[in-house]
């Protein structure tokens, strides 16, 4: 019973998450949350900032999920994403130095807006998808259908649906990048 999450096959979870499976994402999240949190809290010494780092790590995992299938070392992957975000934080904190009053509150508000903006950007990107990509993506994300379900509904092969979802996610990330939301590409080269 103790630490049952740790016995889950992370590679299998990554494969499921790559297919957009939210339950697999939740399982992975529950497994890694207690592993990332103590470090993030210790490094930042600030619960709000630590939350931002942890949330952003999982956000990047979710938005880059189509690339997870080939990740050989999922735990290493997650810790590296987290380490990169911690590095960004440290640079900001140590180099800028000047104490920022009310940091936690400000960051929280900023983060709140950042999430809304991110969501709006993604929404725009989805609307910009071409016919089939949009249909498939909406069936996946809005109706919560699995790849085989989408395939049978649209009379396509599962492979086509999967490839379409990968292209859709790629296009969404490109849209985000074009609007200044940076996915740390280096992470994906690290595999």
């Amino acid at each position: 019973m103790i630490n049952e999450e740790l016995h889950v096959d992370e590679g299998a979870l990554f494969k499921l998450i790559a297919l957009g499976n939210e339950e697999a994402f939740e399982t992975l999240f529950r497994g890694f949350l207690p592993r990332l949190t103590p470090f993030a809290l210790r490094l930042t010494g600030n619960e709000e900032v630590a939350r931002e780092i942890v949330q952003e790590a999982f956000m990047q995992l979710w938005l880059g999920r189509d690339k997870l299938e080939d990740v050989k070392n999922p735990a290493g992957w997650i810790f590296t994403v987290t380490a990169r975000l911690c590095y960004k934080f440290l640079r900001r904190k140590v180099l800028e130095e000047a104490p920022r009053p009310g940091l936690a509150g400000e960051e929280a508000t900023h983060d709140h807006y950042a999430f809304r903006e991110l969501k709006t950007l993604i929404h725009q990107a989805v609307l910009n998808l071409s016919g089939q990509r949009k249909t498939v993506f909406l069936l996946s994300r809005e109706e919560g259908l699995s790849i085989p379900e989408i395939a049978s509904q649209l009379n396509l092969s599962s492979n086509t649906v999967k490839n379409t979802l990968v292209s859709a996610l790629k296009q969404i990330r490109e849209h985000l990048k074009a609007h200044g939301y940076l996915m740390p590409c280096a992470i994906f080269l690290w595999l």
Binding site: F29, F39, R42, Q55, A75, F79, Y87, L127, K134
Partner: protein, 403 residues
């Protein structure tokens, strides 16, 4: 001290030493020299990979501790997976409607000009055979036409289709009659399925929803709706511009979703809303009569007739005394350019004549007065513009405006 910094800088290229430095930083025992060393390491871009590797190892080495996780973090995964769910959950009920049982039959006008979002549809539009245009000045105005996307993802081009039944889905029958598309949900049962109507540039179309509500869809627009309104709120999603006449039904409030965080709640009403390209996601809703409520992010505002609400992320601004006739002009076959700048004029022409507009040099900041019929040939429109002092020339379907 400077010498000390240089010395530390050299030795800190070692990952183990950086780890030790970071450990001391986390324990708060860095000291002045350690702080200086940390600064130099972080300021050196060439050291990034080593520092990241050190942080990664430290993170992996730090033990797991479920008790350290703040309680409210446990739902974080839901926030994350909601980020790419395009719209609000359809089942979401807004309790405020329950007290507004007086909502009567209402006419609603909406214009959301979200061209940034609509460019997409262009790629999927079947090319409709129109008369060839050998003379580039003979660009015709828009006409009736649209593409219907059925629940199974198949599409039907409505431009030149004969009258009659088009499809039956989940018991709801969709028919083309009198130049408009109408749904009959009398036989509908079970889960409603979703359809979408999309107009290209230069096209408009009319639609009757299963509840009898009527919608005029302007050019370069798209509306998504269920084929029957069985239970709960009547929710549709709009991108672009539309005029609504909503059938009153206090038991099933009507909502129009404009973006993931902005919706119009119809209380019995006539209004107009728009969302211009390059406006950074600003929506514009103008109430003609009755009442609507705008909900955007966590705020909401109820509009009075003649008021316009502008929303941007986190902000709603009200403007009073708006010329509603101007806002409704497109639906009445007119362009109304009173008080409008050249770029807005050109945006309208782009949508209606399916042209692209480019600018040479600075354009005039002057506002226009007057209006035009939407049935004019582009050449006639350009003549009027030239008469008003706007220099422009056509190259293919690109209009070049110079000043």
């Amino acid at each position: 001290m400077a010498g000390c910094g240089t010395y530390l800088y050299i030795i800190m290229k070692n990952k183990e030493q950086i780890k030790e430095l970071l450990r001391r930083y986390m324990d708060g025992t860095t000291g002045d020299a350690g702080q200086q060393a940390l600064k130099e390491v972080l300021a050196d871009d060439g050291m990034e990979e080593v520092v990241v590797a050190a942080l990664q190892e430290l993170a992996a080495e730090t033990g797991s501790d479920a008790a350290a996780v703040p309680g409210e973090w446990h739902g974080m995964h839901k926030t994350i997976t909601s980020v790419d769910k395009p719209f609000l959950p359809r089942t979401k009920r807004l309790p405020l409607f329950k007290t507004w049982g007086w909502a009567a039959a209402a006419a609603v006008l909406l214009a959301v000009a979200g061209y940034r979002w609509l460019g997409t549809e262009k790629g999927t539009q079947p090319v409709v055979a129109v008369l060839p245009v050998p003379d580039t000045t003979a660009i015709s105005p828009g006409a009736y036409g649209a593409v219907l996307t059925l629940a199974d993802g198949s599409t039907v081009v409505l431009d030149s289709l004969g009258e009659g039944t088009i499809a039956a889905q989940a018991g709801a029958v969709v028919k083309l009659a009198g130049g408009q598309l109408a749904y009959d949900a009398a036989g509908a049962g079970g889960e409603a399925v979703w359809n979408a109507m999309t107009t290209a540039r230069g096209k408009q179309f009319r639609l009757v929803l299963p509840d009898g509500s009527r919608i005029w869809l302007n050019a370069a627009s798209s509306i998504r709706y269920p084929t029957s309104f069985t239970t709960g709120d009547r929710v549709v999603e709009l991108q672009g511009e539309a005029y609504f006449e909503i059938a009153g039904n206090p038991q099933q409030p009507f909502r129009v979703i404009l973006d993931p965080e902005t919706e119009i709640q119809v209380l019995g009403t006539a209004f107009n809303a728009s969302n211009y390209e390059g406006g950074g996601g600003i929506t514009r809703t103008t109430l003609v009569e009755g009442a609507v409520r705008i909900r955007s992010f966590s705020q909401s505002q109820t509009l009075k007739p003649g008021q316009q609400a502008l929303t941007a992320p986190g902000k709603i601004q009200l403007i009073s005394g708006v010329d509603t006739e101007q806002v409704l002009a497109w639906k009445n076959g007119l362009f109304n350019f009173n008080g409008v700048g050249i770029k807005e004029v050109m945006q309208e022409l782009e949508r209606w004549y399916d042209i692209d507009v480019k600018y040479e040099g600075a354009v005039t900041a002057e506002k226009f007065r007057g209006g035009m019929q939407r049935g004019l040939q582009l050449s006639e429109v350009l003549e009027s513009l030239k008469y008003m002092g706007v220099k422009c020339r056509l190259e293919g379907r690109t209009l070049i405006v110079s000043q």
